[in-house]
């Protein structure tokens, strides 16, 4: 399982990541960021294979793909 | 073991030489510590480049012949940011091409020296003959509000000495400095004595000492920021855009632009007492003054003597620094004399700031001569006689 960390100050919501995601795991969120844009969000976390293409292709250094770590209570 | 300064002297040759004004500019640069020259051949300035090409590899400097004068000016500005002293040399057509990056050097506060061995224009004009037609281009050639420093030597010896001064001013005020001679002086041979190191002063740019809190365009009380060369870890961003004290673009800000451009002008205007140089002859009991500069001032010097023998009370104010303009000096002369003669090898350029400084206190007569010939003492005497008839 993976998660994406988004720098919301830098993301401009351009959709390059969504367009290129090979597993179609990302989509544009309906919420607004502080910059007034719709950011990407990971909706299909199980489908994401952690290829990091979105991270490599982000023109704004805004996405980091990380492996989700489960913490036992 | 020989020191670096010994090597410079060895590279230049004999202490006393019979050389051209162009050679003298090159020697001045070498004595000032210039180790980088970029240029493009152009008559009558080519010999400056030739001399630098010969000397620089001998002293482990760098000579590079660029594809044009635009690139030459760019290269010396780039090289200056590595912390070395840099120079280029050209003539009118090339100086026209340098205007763009000259403005960049002013905006980015880059020390460098430009020698312009003037020839007649407009355009290709008279490549092998002297003129002083670029005086106003030097002042206003690059776009936007700015100040510039320009020195005008009158002899081969002085071409060398003022090139050293030009480097000192460039380093002190972090700005490009112009040395303006002309084709006659550039190609004229005279006796040149290369001075010993203790006979002249050298100024080095003030460098930043600590990276902590360093702001590359925050000025000291003298309005000049401390310099941090590329490669020293200061991570300076240099831009021709309007920038803040951190060096970052703020091109849409009126107050930042106002503050920056006024400081760039003020660092020169508030230090005119350090920058302005001139010589006075026969200032006492003077009725008619000649205000001259460059090679023209040489004939004027003779005319002062000869005129006095003929009963003309003539004096000479020889301007050495043309920009910033010594208006207070000119105004002082204007209060003491009845008329002023301004001989120029152009159709009238420096006569305008002179008239502005004189402000109607006395008549100012322009004596233009163009076509590549110098004013003769006879012509000058005739003009003085005419002027005396008009005012007395």
């Amino acid at each position: 399982m993976h998660v994406i960390e988004l720098n919301e100050h830098w993301c401009k919501g351009c959709r390059v990541c969504v367009f290129h995601c090979p597993t179609k795991s990302l989509r544009i969120a309906s919420r607004f960021t502080m910059r007034g844009i719709h950011p990407p969000e990971l909706v299909e976390a199980e489908r994401c294979n952690g290829c990091r293409l979105c991270e490599l292709l982000c023109p704004d250094f805004a996405i980091t793909v990380m492996e989700a770590v489960s913490v036992n209570a | 073991m020989s020191t670096h300064r010994d090597r410079l002297r060895q590279a230049m040759g004999d202490k006393v030489q019979f050389v051209q004004g162009d050679d003298a500019c090159a020697y001045g640069a070498i004595l000032a510590g210039c180790t980088f020259f970029a240029g493009y051949p152009i008559t009558p300035a080519t010999e400056v480049a030739e001399r630098m090409a010969e000397i620089l590899p001998k002293i482990e400097g760098c000579y590079i012949q660029m594809e044009d004068e635009i690139a030459s000016m760019g290269a010396i500005v780039g090289a200056s940011w590595t912390g070395v002293k840099t120079m280029t040399a050209t003539s009118g057509p090339g100086f026209s091409l340098m205007q763009e990056n000259l403005g960049y050097a002013i905006m980015t506060e880059t020390p460098c020296v430009i020698v312009n061995v003037q020839r007649s224009g407009p355009s290709t004009g008279q490549p092998t003959l002297g003129a002083y037609g670029d005086m106003m281009q030097a002042r206003w050639g690059t776009h936007g509000d700015h100040e510039i420093i320009m020195l005008c030597p009158a002899s081969v010896q002085e071409a060398m000495e003022l090139t050293i001064v030009a480097f000192n001013l460039a380093e002190a005020y972090r700005t490009p400095v112009l040395v303006f001679i002309d084709g006659e002086l550039g190609h004229m041979r005279e006796r040149l004595v290369i001075p010993e190191d203790d006979e002249f002063e050298l100024v080095e740019r003030t460098c930043a000492t600590s990276r902590e809190g360093y702001r590359p365009f925050a000025a000291d009380e003298n309005l000049v920021p401390a310099f941090a060369p590329f490669g020293a870890g200061f991570r300076t961003y240099v831009t021709g855009l309007t920038h803040n004290e951190a060096g970052l673009p703020r091109s849409a800000s009126a107050p930042i632009h106002d503050q920056l451009v006024r400081r760039l002008a003020d660092k020169i205007l508030r230090n005119t007492d350090q920058i302005i140089r001139y010589e006075e002859f026969g200032a006492e009991e003077c009725e008619i003054a000649i205000i001259a500069y460059g090679i023209t001032a040489r004939a004027c010097r003779d005319v002062v003597e000869e005129g006095r023998q003929r009963g003309l009370k003539v004096g000479l104010l020889r301007l050495i620094t043309i920009w910033p303009f010594p208006d207070e000096v000119v105004a002082r002369w204007a209060t003491r004399v009845q008329a002023i003669l301004v001989p120029e090898m152009n159709l009238g350029q420096i006569v305008h700031p002179i008239r502005e400084a004189v402000a109607g206190r006395c008549p100012v007569m322009l004596q233009s001569k163009i076509g590549g010939e110098l004013h003769t003492p006879t012509e000058l005497i005739d003009a003085l006689e005419e002027l005396r008839c008009q005012v007395c």
């Binding site: - | 090597r7 090289a79 960049y104």
Partner: protein, 286 residues
Amino acid sequence: MSGLLKLKTAAELRQIYLRHEMFPTIFCDGCGLGNVLNYTLWALDELQLDLDRTVFVSGIGCSSRLSGYVNADGMHTTHGRALAFASGIKAAQPDLNVIVFTGDGDGSGIGGNHLLHTIRRNMDLTVILVNNFTYGMTGGQVAPTTPIDSFSTTTPYGNIEYPLDICALAQTLGAPYVARWMINQPYPPIKSIAQGIQKRGFALIEMLVPCPTAYGRRNGLKQLETIWQWYRDHTILIDDYEHIMHFGSPEERAALHDKIKIGVFQDYERESFEERWATLVEQVKL
């Protein structure tokens, strides 16, 4: 290039290489200039280049803003003149790494003569030339690279001029390293920029970058998806191109006519200006 397996994360790159006060970038939605910066930083990281000894030089235009985003010494110069300034820096201080960001208009239009002579001189510079087919910052005028028949604000009836192939020019001039890439695939340009930086002498890496705002919208490529896909559809690896030219059917060969070749076009050794100058100095110095 095993280093690629140990890629840092974007968050780590941000911390190490970027001048945070310059962010967010000025670039439009769908613009690929940020990708060029991104790939350059990954290449720098792969080489573990000392940022204190690296200078980024640029001219004027959208692409020339890239130098300001890197937390290193940078010089944002005049339009077209980046190579002249960069040559001065490199010639005066050969042990600095000098990387130039320029555009198609900046680098091959107004700066065309400097490009020609900097390659001829073989200055040891890495030039990342971003080609977006237009003058973007001034609003989309025709550039030396604008495809024939394309529309721009100054070719409202279509461009009648033939475009310049910058890589072919650089090859002819003898540049030791010449490559062209699209930005849709990150790894080839990252590897190529790293190779270019390591190459002694002049290295040119042309990056084909989509400009939906100034170019795309006048040429049916306004949507991000459409213009990014256009680059996939209209580029071909030089290797594939040559294979088809040798072995393909006439129809397959004919289909190549509107394809832009990408890949490494030239890679060989040639002494740089700085090396030759150093040799000369050794011979004549006092």
